[in-house]
C-alpha cells in the first residue's frame, strides 16, 4: 500500500467511498455493532442505510420484534450490525425488550449505537443512561434532527457529548444525512481511537451502593467473564427472574455467541 492511498483512507472526504454495504453477507467480521433505542426513532432506517438491506421500516412503534442482522465494510474493517427491537427501558420483561437487553448484556457488541429522537431527547435519555450502565462503548445518534428543527428545538450536541462521555452525531436517517459521521464514530469507538467516559448514574442511597458492591464482587468471582457485574447485581436486587435463572443454570457464564442465528424478519 503506498502512502497516497493510505492518506485517502484517513481523509474524511473519502469516507463515502469507503462504505461497502454487505447486505446479509456476514461471513467474517471484525466488529459487532448493536443498534438500540426507543421505538420509532429510526433504528431500522439507519440499519438499512448502512447495510443496504431493506428491512421494512414504518412510522410505527414496534416494527422490529426480533433482531435483524446485516453487514457493512468501512475503512477496511468488516462490521456486523444488529438491529434490536425498540425499547423504552432495560428494566422490564416483555419478549421484545428482553431481546434488546440480553443482546447488549451478553452479546457484548463492540459498539452500541443508541438512536434517539431529537424531539424527545429527555425521555430517550432514560434508556441511554441505562445502556451506559451496561456498556462503555456507545455512540449516540441524534436522529430526526429535521423534525427537531421544525419544532424549533435546538440541541447542543457538544455539551451533550461532553456530559454523556460518548460521541453524539446529529442525523436525519430518512434522508441519509449524518451517516458518514456516524460511521466514523463507530469506527473510532470500535478501534479504541475514541475512548468513551460514560456518564454513570449517581445514586444517593448508601445501602444501595453497598449492596451493589457486595453482590458484584461475588458475581465477578463466580463469573470472571461477566462484563457488567454491576448491572446484573442491580437486576438481582430487583428480583429479575430471568437473571436469577441464568445464574442458577450457569448460562450467565457463557458469553452469548453473537452469531446464534440470522433472523431477518420481512414484514409485508
Amino acid at each position: 500500500m503506498n502512502i497516497n492511498s493510505s492518506n485517502c483512507e484517513t481523509c474524511p472526504v473519502h469516507n463515502t467511498g469507503n462504505l461497502k454495504r454487505l447486505g446479509i453477507d456476514m461471513s467474517s467480521f471484525d466488529f459487532v455493532v448493536a443498534l438500540a433505542g426507543n421505538p420509532n426513532t429510526g433504528k431500522s432506517t439507519v440499519f438499512n442505510n448502512l447495510t443496504g438491506l431493506k428491512q421494512h421500516t414504518g412510522n410505527w412503534p414496534g416494527k422490529t420484534v426480533t433482531r435483524a442482522e446485516g453487514g457493512f465494510e468501512f475503512n477496511g474493517s468488516k462490521y456486523k450490525l444488529v438491529d434490536l427491537p425498540g425499547t423504552y427501558s432495560l428494566l422490564s420483561t416483555s419478549t421484545d425488550e428482553e431481546v434488546a437487553r440480553d443482546f447488549i448484556l451478553f452479546g457484548q457488541p463492540d459498539v452500541t449505537v443508541v438512536v434517539v429522537d431529537a424531539t424527545r431527547l429527555e425521555r430517550n435519555l432514560n434508556l441511554v443512561l441505562q445502556i451506559l450502565e451496561i456498556t462503555d462503548r456507545v455512540v449516540l445518534c441524534l436522529n430526526l434532527m429535521d423534525e427537531a428543527e421544525r419544532h424549533q428545538i435546538k440541541i447542543d450536541e457538544r455539551i451533550l457529548s461532553k456530559d454523556l462521555g460518548v460521541p453524539v452525531i446529529p442525523a436525519v436517517a430518512r434522508y441519509n444525512k449524518g451517516m458518514n459521521e456516524l460511521l466514523n464514530s463507530i469506527y473510532e469507538v470500535a478501534t479504541g481511537k475514541y475512548i468513551c467516559k460514560p456518564y454513570r448514574l449517581k445514586s444517593k442511597s448508601r445501602e444501595l451502593n453497598f449492596a451493589v458492591e457486595k453482590l458484584s464482587k461475588m458475581l465477578r468471582e463466580e463469573f470472571p467473564n461477566l462484563p457488567n457485574a454491576k448491572w446484573v447485581a442491580l437486576r438481582l436486587l430487583e428480583g429479575d427472574q430471568s437473571i436469577i435463572d441464568s445464574i442458577r443454570n450457569g448460562e450467565l457464564g457463557k458469553i452469548y455467541s453473537s452469531d446464534q442465528k440470522i433472523e431477518l424478519v420481512t414484514v409485508v
Binding site: 410505527w60 423534525e147 436486587l237 430487583e238
Partner: protein, 477 residues
C-alpha cells in the same frame, strides 16, 4: 450439590437478604434517579422554544383523527377512498396485462409446443395448467396491488396506523384483550403471518394467545384482491353504473369492519371462557406525522410488497395450475376428478350459499390465499366444459376485463348471494399455510395452532349458512 452450584445459590441468597435491607422502594428510587439525571442532562443541552412557537397543527389533527365522534367515521372514509381508487384504477391495466399474457403469449406458446411436437399431457400440464395459472395471478392481482399497496404504505408512513390502534384500543380493552392487539390487528391487514409475529409486543401469554387466534380476522394482502374483485363483479354490478365504484368500495370496507367486529367478539368470547383474565395496561406513543416520501414509498411498496406478494402467489399458483389441470383432465369412469368432487359437495355447499367449485378452490389454495380467485375461475371453466384456447378442459379462455370474469362466474351459476358469501368466507376461513406455521412457531403448541386454524372455518360455515338461509327467505331464490 457441587461447589459451583453452592456458590451460585449463595449469590442468590445474599441478593435475597440485601433486597430486604434496601427496602421495597428500591425500584422507584432507581427509576427516579434515572429520570432526574436524564432531565438534568437534557436541560443543559436542549433549548426548547416557548409554547406558542411549537407546531400545533399536529395536536389539532390528532384531536380530530382520534376523537370519540369523528375518529371512526374518518377511518371508514379513508379506507373507503383507498378501496375506491383501487377498484376504479385497476380495470384498465388489468385488461392490458390479461390481453398480453393470455391473447398473445399463450397462443404463441401453444404453437411453439405443437411445432416441437410436445406430447399433449405435457403441453396441458405446463402451458394450460402452470402457465395459465401464473398468467391469471399476474393479471388479476398485479393491478390492484400496484394501486393499493402504495396507498396503504403512504398512510402508514404518514403515521395514520397508530391512530387507528389508538381508536381501537379502548374497544379491545373492554373485551378483555390487550390494547396492543389493536396494533397487531393493523399489522395483520398487511400480512397475518407478520401480525402473528408482531404479537410478541404483548407480554401476557393469555392476551398474546387471544391476539394470535384473532389475527386472521384482519383481511390480509392475499385476500384484499379477492374482496375487491368479487365486490366489483357482484356488488358493484347490482348497483346503478354511476354508483358501482362507490358501492363496491363500501362493500369491501364493510367486510373489513366485519372482520374487526369478529376479532372483538371472538376476543371477548375467549377472554370470558378458556382464556380468562383481566386486561393489562400499556402506553401507546403516537408517533409524529411525517411527510411521506412519495418516490421512496412507491419504490418500497412496489419492490417489497407488490413483487413479494406476487412472487409468492406465482410460486404457489404454478403447482396449483398443474393440480387444476390434472383434476380437470384425469377421469374416473369417464368423469373428471374435479367434477366428481364438485358434484359430491355441491348439495352441502348450496346450503351455505356457496358452490362446490369454491370449496375445491379453497382446498387447492390452502398454501396461499392469493390464488383463490384464479383457481375458482379455472375450475369454473373446467367444470362447465367451456374450452377456449387450445383443447381440453381446465383451460382458461382469454379474459380481457372484469366483465369477462363476471361472464364466466355468471355462467357457472353464481348469484349475488354466492358473491356475498364468498366475501364472507374469504374473511372467515383458515389462515394460509405460512401463517399456520408462524402460529405454531410462536405458540409452540399444536392445540392452539389447531384452534387458530379451525375456529375461523367453523365460524365461516356458520355465518354463511345463516346468511344463505335468511337471504333465501327474503329474496326467495
Amino acid at each position: 450439590m457441587n461447589n459451583e452450584q453452592k456458590n451460585r445459590e449463595s449469590i442468590l441468597s445474599t441478593a435475597n437478604n440485601l433486597r430486604w435491607e434496601i427496602g421495597e422502594h428500591f425500584h422507584d428510587t432507581l427509576m427516579e434517579s434515572i429520570y432526574l439525571n436524564a432531565s438534568d442532562i437534557s436541560k443543559r443541552a436542549v433549548t426548547i422554544p416557548s409554547e406558542k412557537a411549537t407546531v400545533s397543527w399536529e395536536k389539532t389533527v390528532d384531536k380530530i383523527l382520534t376523537s370519540r365522534y369523528t375518529g371512526f367515521p374518518i377511518m371508514f372514509l379513508i379506507l373507503g377512498v383507498v378501496f375506491w381508487l383501487t377498484i376504479e384504477g385497476a380495470n384498465v391495466p388489468s385488461a392490458l396485462i390479461a390481453s398480453f399474457l393470455l391473447d398473445t403469449i399463450h397462443p404463441a406458446l401453444k404453437s411453439l409446443s405443437s411445432f416441437i411436437g410436445m406430447p399433449f399431457w405435457l403441453d396441458g400440464v405446463l402451458i394450460d395448467g402452470a402457465y395459465l395459472a401464473m398468467a391469471w395471478v399476474v393479471s388479476v392481482m398485479l393491478p390492484p396491488m400496484m394501486i393499493f399497496f402504495p396507498l396503504f404504505t403512504l398512510l402508514e408512513d404518514f403515521g395514520y396506523l397508530p391512530r387507528v390502534s389508538f381508536n381501537m384500543d379502548n374497544l379491545y380493552r373492554r373485551v378483555g384483550a390487550h390494547g396492543k392487539q389493536a396494533l397487531t390487528m393493523a399489522m395483520g391487514f398487511g400480512c397475518n403471518a407478520a401480525g402473528v409475529v408482531a404479537t410478541r409486543v404483548i407480554d401476557s401469554p393469555r392476551e398474546k394467545l387471544i391476539a394470535i387466534i384473532t389475527n386472521n380476522f384482519s383481511l390480509c394482502n392475499g385476500r384484499w384482491p379477492t374482496q375487491i374483485l368479487i365486490a366489483t363483479i357482484f356488488i358493484g354490478a347490482a348497483a346503478p353504473a354511476y354508483l358501482a365504484g362507490i358501492v363496491s368500495a363500501a362493500a369491501v370496507v364493510f367486510i373489513a369492519v366485519l372482520g374487526i367486529v369478529f376479532s372483538l367478539v371472538v376476543s371477548w368470547g375467549l377472554s370470558k371462557s378458556v382464556l380468562k383474565g383481566e386486561a393489562s395496561a400499556f402506553s401507546l406513543e403516537l408517533p409524529p406525522y411525517r411527510p411521506p416520501r412519495i418516490l421512496r414509498t412507491l419504490y418500497t411498496s412496489l419492490i417489497d410488497r407488490t413483487i413479494f406478494v406476487l412472487w409468492r402467489a406465482i410460486v404457489f399458483a404454478i403447482p396449483a395450475g398443474v393440480v387444476i389441470w390434472l383434476v380437470g383432465n384425469v377421469a374416473v369412469e369417464g368423469e373428471s376428478i374435479a367434477n366428481i368432487f364438485i358434484n359430491w359437495i355441491n348439495p352441502f355447499a348450496f346450503i351455505l350459499g356457496l358452490n362446490g367449485v369454491i370449496f375445491l378452490a379453497y382446498i387447492i389454495a390452502i398454501p396461499a390465499n392469493e390464488i383463490v380467485i384464479p383457481s375458482i375461475l379455472m375450475l369454473t371453466v373446467a367444470n362447465l366444459g367451456l374450452a377456449g384456447v387450445g383443447a381440453g378442459s381446465g383451460v382458461m379462455f382469454e379474459l380481457d376485463s372484469v366483465a369477462d370474469t363476471a361472464n364466466i362466474l355468471n355462467a357457472g351459476g353464481w348469484t349475488l348471494l354466492t358473491g356475498i358469501n364468498l366475501m364472507i368466507f374469504s374473511l372467515l376461513h383458515n389462515p394460509c399455510s405460512t401463517t399456520i406455521y408462524t402460529i405454531y412457531k410462536e405458540t409452540k403448541s399444536v392445540k392452539w395452532t389447531l384452534i387458530s386454524s379451525f375456529l375461523p372455518i367453523a365460524m365461516g360455515l356458520i355465518v354463511t349458512f345463516f346468511v344463505a338461509q335468511i337471504w333465501r327467505i327474503f329474496a326467495g331464490s
